[in-house]
């Protein structure tokens, strides 16, 4: 119980220091408040672990940091007088401009996102298979890594301003991974 309370206190102190510094209340220790604040937060899992073991300590640590941070953010919210926006005109939906504006992106997404999925799968398997681990550990790593890798590829593919580049690069990477796996 003492460990849990100490962990909560340390997390709150760490976030409190960061908040005070962010509000400009720690100017005299400008250099130090961030490392000290983050160090307090980083140390609290050790206190959680004394009560629950490392697995649950990490989970409780993440949840308490999130909750404390959101609570502090809410408590120091800045309530401003309402500003009335200019009324926006009501328009009929013009089909042609919408198709023009969204069509390219939609087409790109339809092509590129499944391709990114296929490439992430092939590349995850092609890379992780070489790890000197038991098969089940390789599979578990792949299970958690592949969606992250797919998400990163999806972000890049949708961010690239040259529409041809993502499908071309993904197709090439996919071909390389396929050949590494099957040829």
């Amino acid at each position: 119980m003492v460990g849990i309370l100490a962990a909560l206190l340390l997390t709150s102190v760490g976030l409190g220091i960061l908040l005070a510094g962010w509000r400009g209340q720690l100017r005299r220790v400008q250099q130090w408040y961030k490392p000290v604040g983050w160090a307090c937060i980083a140390l609290s899992p050790w206190l959680w672990h004394t009560a629950y073991g490392w697995r649950f300590a990490l989970a409780y640590w993440v949840l308490t940091v999130i909750c404390c941070a959101l609570l502090m953010t809410y408590l120091q919210r800045d309530i401003r007088p309402a500003i009335s926006l200019k009324p926006r005109p009501r328009v009929a939906v013009p089909a042609a401009p919408i198709v023009r504006a969204t069509g390219k992106h939609l087409l790109s997404a339809i092509v590129v996102l499944p391709l990114a999925g296929m490439v992430s799968m092939l590349s995850t398997v092609a890379v992780t298979r070489h790890l000197p681990w038991a098969s089940v550990n390789i599979i578990a790593l792949g299970v958690y890594l592949m969606p992250l890798w797919w998400g990163a590829l999806a972000y890049w593919a949708m961010a690239d301003t040259k529409r041809w580049r993502p499908p071309a690069c993904l197709a090439m990477l996919g071909a390389v991974c396929y050949s590494l796996l099957y040829l």
Partner: protein
Amino acid sequence: MTFSVSKAASKQAMGSHSWLGLLVAVFMYWVCLSGTLAVLAPDLTRWEQPQIAPGVSYDPATLQKAYEQLLSEHDSFTGLVTMRLPTPDVPKAYLSANGQAWFITEQGTLGTPKSHPVTDFIAELHAELHLPHSIGELVVSVLGVMLTGLIISGIVAHRRILKDAFRLRRQGNPVQSDADLHNRLSVWGLPFYLMIALTGAYFGLAGPLNKYYAEVLYEGDQMALFADVYGGVPAAPAYNGKLDLPEAFRQLHQQAPSAQPLFITFEKAGQDDQYLLMGARHHDKFIYSEQYRFDAMGNYLDKVGFAGGEPGQEAIFSVYRLHFGHFGGPLVLLVYIGLGFALTVITISGINLWLRKRHQTDVVNDYWVAVVWGTPVAFACAALLHWTGFVAVTGAFWAMLALLAVYSAIKRNPAQVRRQLVAASALTILLMAAVHWLRFDLAYTDPMAGFINVGWVVIALLLGGYWRSLATVPVANRG
């Protein structure tokens, strides 16, 4: 500490973030909202059948009697025969077979059929968006991947991620206000959302990934992979006709004294080579259960090894409890509900921001309002209609939601429709709680039903408060 992304990279990331968000927003909203409720799925099932008394004590001999009754009443079984044992979080024993389930009475007979269509509706919306199982599960898993993409693009797009760490401007300019809400909830909750995205992606994507791994690591033998990860079939001695569940419980206690028995799967039920698989929770781990295997006479054979085997097995079998927050008791559940709701708010505020930046109002605004605020109305109405006994929850929900979308499109006034639907949400949810209470003669045998009903009333009151607050918002800011 400096952290900076170039303006150009940030702008590109913002574009990617917007497009990914627009592509998945509606589905993401349904998955997040239903997921927030699905955290309470075991409790919601108790709310739906509050006449069944909870209790955590049981006698293995009584459970065996119930299983033997099932065997005598059914000639054959398709799928698994599973017995859920009572635990503090699910304090009711029941037996499932052939797509049905029955609560087990204290006398060891099969009692009231287990039925919770409203919870099933929520769980199926969350897990497969009411699509055919294999497609739906894949679509929802891909949403998990897209959430990962949104998280990455959101980080790169947000150049002032540390400078704005605690900034939350409320009221004032609605664009700033929505942006602050969206960004603060997103940034601080990021580790949780990433965990939800990765564990959520597992359910539908593990299958295809396993296929590739089977090809390269097991020479194409998927069964060998399954045996390695999920445990192979044990060599069980032939069944001598004397089933002995109490002996299995006794031997489980010898093997793992601190493990809490959760369920029993009767493999090859009623056949000569039947054997038992007993799932037991290890309180120091995230795995759903370790699986201990016994022959039908109750003799211990082996365990699969999720608890003490390779870390990979433990990682894979920790997905469920991590995703749904089924660890740490009611406080963790409340945190999961709060953060699940935060992710729902992030989805809504993200699209609201995009809509506000368009400088025009059209049918997209109408449909978005109908989706966001029509969903709770349609849900509560579907539950109420279902209780009349004439319609299925799922059909009623989608029909109601379609009607509300048409209404919003005809009305062409998203601000007004939003306010109407918020009021309707509050009223229908309150009505749902009241009707539920009346259906069970104002008395619940299971106290959990009372807690859940109080929860619905609180939600209705909060929605009522939100409805009142909308009246003070300038008309042009409401859309």
